[in-house]
């Protein structure tokens, strides 16, 4: 187990290095001079030179990369072109909001997805199963930004129950969480259903029934724990999609999270901020997956060796 964790940690290092190279390249693979792009086509030569100077754009590429990497390791992601505030400060305050949004959506998706998936599996081929699976298919096929707009239309504009914008108060949290979490809930529900059906037909479930175990206990004690094993991986992956999907949700609900920071910075051509924010999301995702992988392995240990 320890060797597995160490091996898995070591494997993550080249991936993280690759991530930094890719993020670094973004700015440097841009056709044309990044300094000109940032300053704008019509900017005076002096401004362009100042930007070139500040970003070290005149150094050889590999030097620039190692500077970038070295600074990033010290949590220095450069400074914003627009307001000269360190990128890290920009990212830090926004990241917490995005993380909150993602975690709440995750909880929403897990609770709803597991419940729906279990009901669907236990009542296979009944009306409830069919309805749940149809709803899940819709949830899966719906763009989260459109769902967000529709929720605003119904619950904010028509009914006035929730605030259509912002983040923090309970009446601001509900709609974005539903908008972002629904697709995940649908995926988890489908996965849980198929995994539960798989487990329910296993020999050990028959053994439990032959022992006289109540059906409810068979489902929740004997089946669910086994069925959760593949679902955990899906949940881990979903978290990444929530981080990325929050870009759209934050835009719809005007939430000042990392996603909105990325969009605004792209539109303002503030590349250091774009770089920093994307790097933070990617690294978070890699670390979350690492954690999921290890916990999956832990859960799965007993089965792997079978």
């Amino acid at each position: 187990m320890t060797t597995f964790i160490i091996r898995r940690l070591l494997q993550a290092i080249p991936v993280l290095i690759g991530v930094t190279i890719l993020v670094f390249s973004l700015m440097h693979l841009t056709p044309g001079n990044p300094a000109v792009i940032m300053a704008g086509e019509s900017a005076p030569q002096a401004t362009v030179q100042a930007i070139e100077e500040r970003l070290g754009l005149n150094d050889p590429l590999h030097i620039q990369y190692f500077n970038f990497l070295g600074n990033a390791l010290q949590l220095d992601l450069g400074t914003s072109i627009r307001d000269n505030i360190p990128v890290f400060d920009h990212v830090q305050s926004r990241f917490l909001i995005t993380l909150e949004l993602s975690v709440y959506s995750m909880i929403f998706a897990i609770v709803l997805g597991l419940l729906a998936g279990i009901v669907s599996a236990v009542r296979q081929y009944t009306i409830s199963d069919v309805v749940i699976m149809i709803v899940a298919l819709f949830g899966l096929s719906m763009p989260n930004f459109w769902l967000g707009l529709m929720l605003i239309q119904w619950f904010s504009i028509n009914l006035g129950w929730f605030s259509p914008t912002g983040w923090g108060d309970p009446d601001q949290i509900v709609l974005p969480v539903i908008a972002l979490g629904t697709a995940g809930a649908a995926i988890i529900a489908r996965m849980t259903r198929s995994s539960m059906l798989d487990v329910i037909s296993q020999d050990y479930i028959r053994t439990a029934r032959a022992k006289g175990v109540k059906e409810r206990v068979v489902i929740f004690r004997h089946a669910l724990k086994n069925a959760m094993i593949p679902v955990v991986t899906v949940i881990g992956l979903q978290f990444g999609y929530f981080l990325a999907g929050s870009v759209l949700t934050e835009s719809v609900f005007a939430i000042n999270g990392l996603g909105r920071l990325i969009i605004d910075s792209i539109l303002q051509r503030d590349f250091p901020v774009v770089q920093g924010a994307i790097l933070v999301i990617a690294v978070t995702f890699v670390l979350v997956n690492l954690a999921v992988d290890i916990s999956y392995r832990f859960l799965n240990k007993r089965i792997d060796l079978n």
């Binding site: 690759g18 096929s141 990325a244 990325i262 969009i263 774009v274």
Partner: protein
Amino acid sequence: MAVASKERIRDTKPVNPRVKSMKDFYKRLKKNKSALIGFYILVFFFIVSIFGALDANYGFTGISSNATSLTEKLEGPSAAHWFGTDHLGRDIFIRIIHGMYITLGVGFAATFLAGLVGVPLGILAGYYGGWLDTIIMRLMDVLLAFPGILLALAIVSVLGGSTINVTIAIAIGAVPQFARIVRGSTLTTKKLEYVDAIRALGARDGKIIFQHILPNIMSPIIVNTTLFIATAILSAAGLSFLGLGVQPPTPEWGAMLNDGRNYMYQAGHITFFPGMMIVIVVLAFNLFGDGLRDALDPKFKK
């Protein structure tokens, strides 16, 4: 003597198990009602989108998707404008029809490009293994570290927003998914006894890959392609919605949603109809893709 031994080889040539399974596959697919519904919706949409594309570019109906009418702006659905009009008085129904080929086209093109790169990478990694496998898959891992729309967003932020750039950005994001699935299937196929037997008979790698591996891994590729088109359509719409994808006044559905969001208080229908269309198209691909998967992998169906 030489002829005789050659013939013997032909006689004992191992049988590709694919042939029989394809027949079963069609039988199972035909039985799957939801897959058929998805398929029919898609066929219908293709026809409409071809019509829409021709009309948008050659205008034989004489109706323009960009014809503005200040007297008719923000009107709700009516007999004259089935889906209502937007803030410039443009007919939303016409715009949806004229924009359909863009949505479908970006989805197909991005998926096709991703497959074009991802499938060979997956086969190389799976078939040859070793350091080639390690390098390819680590590279894929790096791309996979950017979840969902994020990689496309990063790429578009560099390339700038346009239909072609969005397609490329989404395709790059999808390459690792193809590579992973193809690698897995290649590994499984490589281990099949009949592939071993063919190799023992002295077939060359190229021949094994094209005649034996590729046909056998086609089914996961097809399923994945169908399901990925759905994701690609969602991503493209998302980028356009953010103003980073297909640019107005092109009647792309995501961009139309972006137009409409400022008028939600006065005219909710502007954001309703384009989004609903996205849902139906994506749903159709998902239905069809699910059906394909069930038909190809009966144990999945239960």
